[in-house]
Amino acid sequence: MTDLGEKTFAETIAKDQRVEPRDWMPDGYRRTMIRQIAQHAHSEIIGMQPEGEWITRAPSLRRKAILLAKVQDEAGHGLYLYSAAETLGADRGDLTRRLIEGRQKYSSIFNYPTLTFADVGVIGWLVDGAAICNQVPLCRSSFGPYARAMIRICKEESFHQRQGYELLMTMMGGTQAQREMVQDAVNRWWWPSLMMFGPPDDRSPNSAQSMAWKIKRHTNDELRQRYVDMSVPQAEALGVTFPDPDLRWNADRGHWDFGAIDWSELQRIISGDGPCNALRISNRRRADSEGAWVREAAAAHAARRQEVKAQ
């Protein structure tokens, strides 16, 4: 049976078809998919925090409504992804425990603080822009439920990026202090956003296998270059600059050259020593434990209603 399963799996991948939850798949594929989907789900859930902090301080009712909708979307994206992970036999509660016990990761980008309201705009423009670059190819990922979740997520991310850019355009049309606030936020988020694509290709040991399984469609460096090329004209239109003296157009390559990334910073944050790591996890842990009685009460209520119905 396994031989047949292996053959079917190889053919499915070769023909660019989707692997579905009940198909035979190599253990490594299942493990990689669960890890990747869980990390992605955790990132969406933790990603609610940096922007969520600004909901009560949004400068107008319009901005507050937009930000609420966006943060609600992040929760939704997390739930689509946990749903996809569960099709592989993972358990949602177990994944949350792994997150709050530090046994599973989330994107390091959410370990930076949001110091001003301009950060909300820059997260939408740059962080969600980088996420879109990463995620659009994942809509063709070989695992069906993940690819389908990504399609829904990408549709919604487009609103996230546009609201961020529009917010920044509004601030750039304001006072000098507001323009400086935008530039300051761009300065702080630009390099971390480049790190979102992961280590360079020659230091990304799992990439080759993920490409062979068609879980990944492009290398980290390809996607990073695509993101830089997209972002430069957007920065120009906005009237801000990126904090990189080596950023210049390379006519031979037909791409923008950019400076060396400080990978030791990413390493430091991944290993837990970022500005907000402890805060993000303690907030998530508190939400989980303080919500426990609600989940228990709802389960008890449902059980009671079932009993009454049976009588």
Partner: protein, 98 residues
């Protein structure tokens, strides 16, 4: 509050009718204490942007499904019945409306 944090709500599959005249289509799953809560969560999770006009939720453990192992037994027999398709029959081009 118990020591062990519990996540034991059952899993539900969600089906959404995008607009009148179309079938309900499976969109994903969610956890909820009961059917009523599953409907509310499905509304919040899968129809935030006018994606639907009607929702079904079904307990995942109530779904019976054909497995990939039984694919041949289930679906191979229809493979060799080409006469069930209209293109199997050749009709002269001169015959109208058929």
């Amino acid at each position: 509050m118990t020591e062990e944090i519990k996540h034991e709500w059952p899993l539900f599959e969600v089906f959404v009718r995008a607009k009148r005249g179309l079938n309900h289509v499976h969109v994903g799953s969610l956890r909820a204490a009961d059917h009523q809560m599953a409907l509310h969560h499905a509304r919040d999770l899968y129809t935030r942007r006018n994606e639907g006009v009607s929702i079904w939720v079904v307990r995942s453990d109530d779904v019976a499904a054909s497995g990939p192992d039984s694919k041949d037994a289930f679906f191979a027999p229809s493979g060799d019945k080409v006469y069930r398709h209209p293109t199997y029959y050749s009709i002269p081009d001169s015959v109208p409306h058929i």
